[in-house]
C-alpha cells in the first residue's frame, strides 16, 4: 500500500514537470498552431543563465531567479520577434522546422558555453531535501514544482478566460488574417505568448536544475510535456495539466507493477489509444470541417 501511494506521489511529482512544459507548449499552440520544439531548450538556456548568475555573481537566489524569469520572457519574445515573425507565408511544417532549428541553436549555444559535464544549481532547497509522512517520501522540490504548475495553470486559465486576450489568442490561431481585420495586434499577441510560454517552461527548467543540469536535460520533459498537451487537447490549459498528471502517475504505476523497461513508451501507447477514441485529445471538441 505504501508503495502504491509512493508511486502515486512520485507520479504527481513527475507530472508536475510535464505539466509545466505542457502548459508552455499549449500557450504557444493556442495562438499559432505551432508545436514549439524549442520549448525545452528555451528553458535550458534560462536555467544555465540562472546558474551563471548564481555562480559568478554574488547575488541572492531570489534576485537571480527573478532576473532569470525576466530573461526567459524576453528570450521568448525576442525569438518570436526576430525569427518566427520573419517567416514568409509560413506553413505549419515550416514552422516546426524553424523551431527545431532554434532548438539546435540554443542547445549548441549552451553546450558551447557550459560544456557537457553534469552540474547542479545552488538552490536553497536541496534536491534530496524532503519529508517522510507515514512512510511516504515527499521531496520539497517536487512540492514546489507542483505548486508552480497549479499556480500557472490557474492564473493563466483565469487570465485567458476573463480577458479579451484569451479569445483574441484563439482567434489568432484560427485565422490570423481575420484576426487582423478585427483589429487584433496579432504580432504583439504572438510575442507576448512566446514570452509567457518561455517563462512557464523556464520554471520547469529551473526546478530541474538543482538536481542535475546537462545540455540534454530538457528533452524528456519537453517530449512528455508535448505528449501531455496533445492528450489534453493541445488548446486546453487544464487539459494539459490533467493529462500531465495522468501520464506521470501511469508511468510510475506501470513502471512499478508491469514493466519498467517500457515505462518511457507506455505514455505514447496510451496517447495513441486515447487519440483513437478522441482524435482531438481529451478536453477539446473535435471540429469536423463542414463544406
Amino acid at each position: 500500500m505504501i508503495d502504491f501511494i509512493q508511486m502515486i506521489v512520485s507520479g504527481v511529482a513527475t507530472g508536475s514537470t510535464y505539466a509545466l512544459m505542457g502548459l508552455a507548449m499549449v500557450i504557444i499552440y493556442k495562438t499559432s498552431e505551432v508545436p514549439n520544439f524549442a520549448q525545452g531548450e528555451m528553458a535550458l538556456i534560462t536555467s544555465y543563465f540562472a546558474m551563471m548568475l548564481l555562480t559568478t555573481m554574488n547575488i541572492s537566489v531570489y534576485l537571480a531567479f527573478f532576473i532569470s524569469f525576466a530573461f526567459a520572457a524576453i528570450l521568448g519574445a525576442f525569438l518570436e520577434f526576430v525569427i518566427l515573425r520573419r517567416a514568409k507565408e509560413p506553413n505549419v511544417l515550416g514552422m516546426i522546422v524553424i523551431t527545431i532549428g532554434i532548438e539546435m541553436v540554443l542547445l549548441g549555444f549552451v553546450s558551447w558555453k557550459f560544456g557537457a559535464e553534469e552540474k547542479t544549481m545552488p538552490f536553497p532547497i536541496g534536491p534530496y531535501d524532503g519529508f517522510i509522512v507515514g512512510g511516504i517520501y515527499i521531496s520539497k522540490l517536487d512540492v514546489l514544482t507542483l505548486i508552480s504548475a497549479l499556480f500557472f495553470m490557474i492564473v493563466l486559465y483565469l487570465f485567458f478566460k476573463f480577458s479579451k486576450l484569451g479569445l483574441a489568442m484563439k482567434a489568432t490561431q484560427q485565422n490570423s488574417v481575420a484576426a487582423q481585420i478585427v483589429g487584433i495586434k496579432t504580432n504583439r499577441i504572438m510575442m507576448m505568448t512566446w514570452g509567457i510560454s518561455s517563462l512557464v517552461g523556464a520554471t520547469a527548467g529551473l526546478l530541474i536544475s538543482p538536481t542535475v543540469m546537462q545540455p540534454f536535460m530538457m528533452w524528456d520533459p519537453m517530449l512528455k510535456g508535448f505528449a501531455a498537451a496533445v492528450m489534453g487537447g493541445m488548446t486546453s490549459l487544464p487539459g494539459a495539466v490533467i493529462a500531465a498528471y495522468m501520464l506521470g502517475i501511469i508511468e510510475n504505476l506501470f513502471g512499478g507493477y508491469i514493466s519498467i523497461e517500457f515505462k518511457t513508451v507506455v505514455a505514447f501507447a496510451i496517447i495513441v489509444l486515447v487519440l483513437c477514441v478522441k482524435p482531438s485529445g481529451l478536453f477539446a471538441r473535435h471540429y469536423v470541417k463542414k463544406v
Binding site: V92, G101, M104, G115
Partner: protein, 349 residues
C-alpha cells in the same frame, strides 16, 4: 500555337531530347563517380543516397499527402533489422531479404496509418513519434534482435558477386536509388499521385470525387514506410553493424527536416534536402579547420565560451541554416531553385 501541345509530353519520362541528354550525363557521371574519388567519398555517397531514399518516401507522406511523421527512424530500423535478421536467421539472400523487410516496414506503416486517419497536426506528430520510440525500445529488449548488443551485418553477396567494399556497394545503392526515385516520380504523376495531392489539399472534395481516403492515406504510410525500410536495409550494410540506439528521435527529426528544407511536395527538393543536410551533418565537425574562421572561432571560444564545447558550434550552424532556409523560402531549396530559374530566365533584365 496548339494549346494541347503537352498532351503527351507530361506523360513522357523526358520532356525533350535535351533532358534525355542531361539525364544520361547525370546517370553516367553517377556511375563513374567512384573511379575518380577517394573511397571515403563513396562511403559518404552511399550514406547520402540512403537518406535520399528515406526523404523521397517521407516526402510522399508529408509533402504529397499532407501527413506528418516523426517516427520514420522506426521504419528505417525495421528495414535494417528485418534485412539482417532474415539473412542471418532465415538464410534469405540479400535481394530477397531487403524487399521482405521493407514489406514488413510497409505493414507497420499501414498499421500506423490506421489511427492516423483521424489525426492531424500535433496529434499525428505525437502518435508517430511514439511509434518510433516504441520500435527501438522493443528491438532493444528482444534477444532475437540482438538486444542492445546490436547485430553485425553478414557478408553481402548477390549471386556470384561479393560486395564488400564501399565502391561495390555503391553501384547497388545508386541503382536502387535511381529506380526508387523514378518509381516515385512516375507514381506521383499518375492517378495515384494525384489522389495523394488531392487528399492533402481538400480531403472532403477528394472523397466526393471518388477517392477512397482510407485506402490512399494508409497507402501513403505504407509506401513511405517501404522506402524507409529499403533504405534501412541498406544502411545496415553501410554501417555493417546496427544497434537500436542508432535509430533515434533525432534521426526522425532529421528526416523530416530534409523533406521540409528540400521543399514539400518536390522530389528534386527531397534529393537536395537530403544531400544538403547529410553533407552538413558530416562536414560541420570540421568547422574549426576552415582557415581564419576556424581560428576566430577558437579565439572566441577561449575568451567567451569554452574550448571543450567548441564542436557544438556545428549545432548552431546547422540550426541557423535550417532557420534561414525556412525563413526566406517556405518552399525550401526547391523554392530557391525555382526563383533562380525565374531570375536567370529574365536575366539580365
Amino acid at each position: 500555337m496548339d494549346m494541347k501541345r503537352d498532351y503527351y509530353e507530361d506523360v513522357e519520362l523526358f520532356s525533350s531530347p535535351v533532358v534525355v541528354f542531361w539525364f544520361i550525363v547525370l546517370i553516367g557521371s553517377l556511375y563513374l563517380f567512384p573511379m575518380f574519388v577517394d573511397n571515403y567519398y563513396v562511403y559518404v555517397a552511399n550514406y547520402i543516397a540512403i537518406n535520399i531514399i528515406v526523404a523521397a518516401g517521407l516526402n510522399l507522406l508529408v509533402g504529397f499527402t499532407g501527413q506528418i511523421s516523426l517516427g520514420h527512424a522506426g521504419f528505417f530500423a525495421i528495414g535494417a533489422y528485418g534485412t539482417v535478421i532474415l539473412m542471418i536467421k532465415a538464410g534469405f539472400p540479400f535481394l530477397l531479404a531487403l524487399p521482405c523487410a521493407a514489406l514488413v516496414a510497409a505493414g507497420f506503416g499501414f498499421l500506423l496509418g490506421l489511427p492516423a486517419l483521424r489525426l492531424e497536426g500535433p496529434y499525428l506528430a505525437i502518435a508517430t513519434l511514439g511509434f518510433g520510440l516504441t520500435i527501438t525500445q522493443i528491438i532493444g529488449r528482444v534477444e532475437l534482435f540482438g538486444g542492445r548488443d546490436g547485430l553485425h551485418a553478414p557478408d553481402l553477396t548477390i549471386g556470384p558477386w561479393v560486395l564488400d567494399t564501399d565502391k561495390e556497394f555503391y553501384f547497388l545503392v545508386i541503382t536502387l536509388t535511381i529506380f526508387l526515385l523514378l518509381f516515385m516520380r512516375n507514381l506521383i504523376k499518375t492517378r495515384v499521385g494525384r489522389a495523394f495531392i488531392a487528399i492533402r489539399d481538400a480531403d472532403i472534395a477528394a472523397e466526393t470525387m471518388g477517392v477512397n481516403i482510407v485506402f490512399y492515406k494508409t497507402l501513403a504510410f505504407a509506401i513511405s514506410a517501404f522506402y524507409a525500410g529499403i533504405a534501412g536495409g541498406m544502411y545496415a550494410f553501410v554501417l555493417k553493424f546496427i544497434e537500436p540506439e542508432i535509430f533515434t528521435l533525432l534521426m526522425s527529426i532529421l528526416f523530416l527536416a530534409m523533406v521540409v528544407v528540400g521543399g514539400l511536395g518536390s522530389m528534386l527538393g527531397s534529393v537536395a534536402g537530403a544531400v544538403l543536410l547529410c553533407w552538413l551533418d558530416l562536414k560541420l565537425r570540421n568547422i574549426l579547420d576552415i582557415p581564419y574562421l576556424g581560428e576566430w572561432l577558437k579565439d572566441l571560444s577561449e575568451n567567451w565560451f569554452s574550448i571543450t564545447g567548441v564542436s557544438n558550434i556545428q549545432y548552431i550552424v546547422f540550426g541557423s541554416i535550417m532557420i534561414a532556409i525556412m525563413l526566406f523560402e517556405p518552399l525550401g531549396l526547391y523554392g530557391i531553385w525555382i526563383r533562380m530559374k525565374k531570375y536567370w530566365r529574365t536575366w539580365p533584365f
